[in-house]
Symmetry: C2
Subunit: 229 residues, 2 copies
DNA sequence: TGTCAGCTGTCAGTCGCTGACATTAGCTTG
DNA sequence: CAAGCTAATGTCAGCGACTGACAGCTGACA
């Protein structure tokens, strides 16, 4: 010890090789997202992406398993954040509340982390492409269910249940995930792409879970009637 | 009139051309499902399929938009059946009950219709391949959300709501769809592949929607505790 | 400084998929 | 029934995603 890079307390600065890799990966992500946001997903070939960064196609496929993966590079950051937030919730909270608060509370941190990688506006535009491109939407939904599976395990652990014996954790998470997806769609279909708007939409949707599952909508006050467009 | 094919009351027998097309399509579906069930999805090339039916590759792509589509040919029958069943529900039923009864009541009819096309056992094996193949699972989930979108519209119409203004139809359908997916997974993961078993799993999962969303699972009786493996 | 491991590029090849064009085969009309 | 039209099919060429194999280069480390 004593040398600069082995000092404790600070993360050891990675070597030149590692930094180069990081730079190449980031450059590929940025170039890919920019191209996808402007030309669309199908309109963007891998050759286009690698030409913009001036690396070989083979290198691209060494960094990303497929063309899809680069489009979800940013989204995966958000996923792991949410998962961490769920794990950090106090043990006395009810399951549905855990999910709700985890999503809403990790929101700002996610926004910040994303912006550190790519401009937020770019991320928004790419998200719309994902929602409107069948192949990407399919991949997105698959990733979402994988996240749900992990969430179900965490929830089951919290409650001391066996995920495979008791269907309730998976059912709760599935229902929750469905609501989140509805919120995402409403957001991506609207004009206001700001994180605050998204947060509001998400909150509103989560508040509707109870009412939506209530027996009969026609009795009692109908919230949100004619309040939009 | 008076000729055999123009007789009223009976569905006019399609011409030779149409029958040939039907036969080719069915042969492609059967060959494809058989191959996929045994060799897996990625292990089955389009050339393998067309070789088994002795048509050109180009013909395959005139019948199916892609290799995926042939794998979901049977599943799409079931989807349209469920949609019809939902539309046929009496107007006084509550939304959640409509979905529940539509799925359960159309079950036998679907099973019958499927068996008319391919052996039920083959369909089961293919379904497991779908669940375990990322690309197919992704496509399956995308189709499922498209079905959910249509269901949401139907439900909203029943209740006299605007799908785009009131989030509750989509939320309800999303939650319901999530539960159905959990049931599908539990079924495909288990040993018993019979339709009766599937029906039982589906019923059990649907009965858990309320309890799963209830505030705290630890209070009150926990159903299904330790009743399975 | 020299050796070694890891990153990169090149090349060839497979597979899914499509457009263009020629060929065949069913149906229609005189 | 024969000619003519149209729809179905086959053939061919080509693009794009993706992969394995091999070769060259470049940080890392003694």
């Amino acid at each position: 010890m004593g040398t600069a890079e082995s000092a404790v307390g600070a993360p050891p600065r990675p070597g030149l090789r590692e930094r180069k890799k990081q730079r190449t990966r980031d450059a590929l992500v940025r170039a890919a997202l920019e191209l996808i946001a402007t030309r669309g997903y199908e309109g963007t070939t891998v050759d286009d992406i690698v030409a913009a960064v001036d690396v070989s196609q083979r290198t691209f496929f060494r960094y990303f398993a497929g063309k899809e993966e680069v489009a979800f590079f940013v989204a995966r950051l958000a996923e792991s954040r949410v998962l961490d937030a769920v794990r950090a919730r106090p043990p006395h909270e009810a399951p549905l509340e855990v999910l709700r608060r985890a999503v809403l509370d990790s929101w700002d941190g996610i926004t910040e982390a994303v912006e550190q990688l790519v401009p937020l506006d770019l991320h928004m535009r790419v998200y719309r492409v994902i929602e409107s491109t069948p192949a990407l939407l399919a991949a997105h939904l698959r990733r979402a269910t994988e996240l749900e599976e992990e969430l179900a395990r965490v929830i089951a652990d919290r409650e001391g249940l066996d995920v495979d014996a008791d269907p309730r954790p998976r059912i709760l998470v599935a229902a929750f995930g469905g609501v989140v997806r509805v919120a995402e769609r409403r957001w991506s279909a609207g004009d206001d792409c700001s994180p605050e708007a998204m947060r509001a939409v998400m909150t509103a949707c989560l508040d509707q879970v109870g009412p939506a599952l209530a027996g009969n909508w026609r009795t009692g006050p109908s919230p949100n009637r004619g309040t939009e467009t």
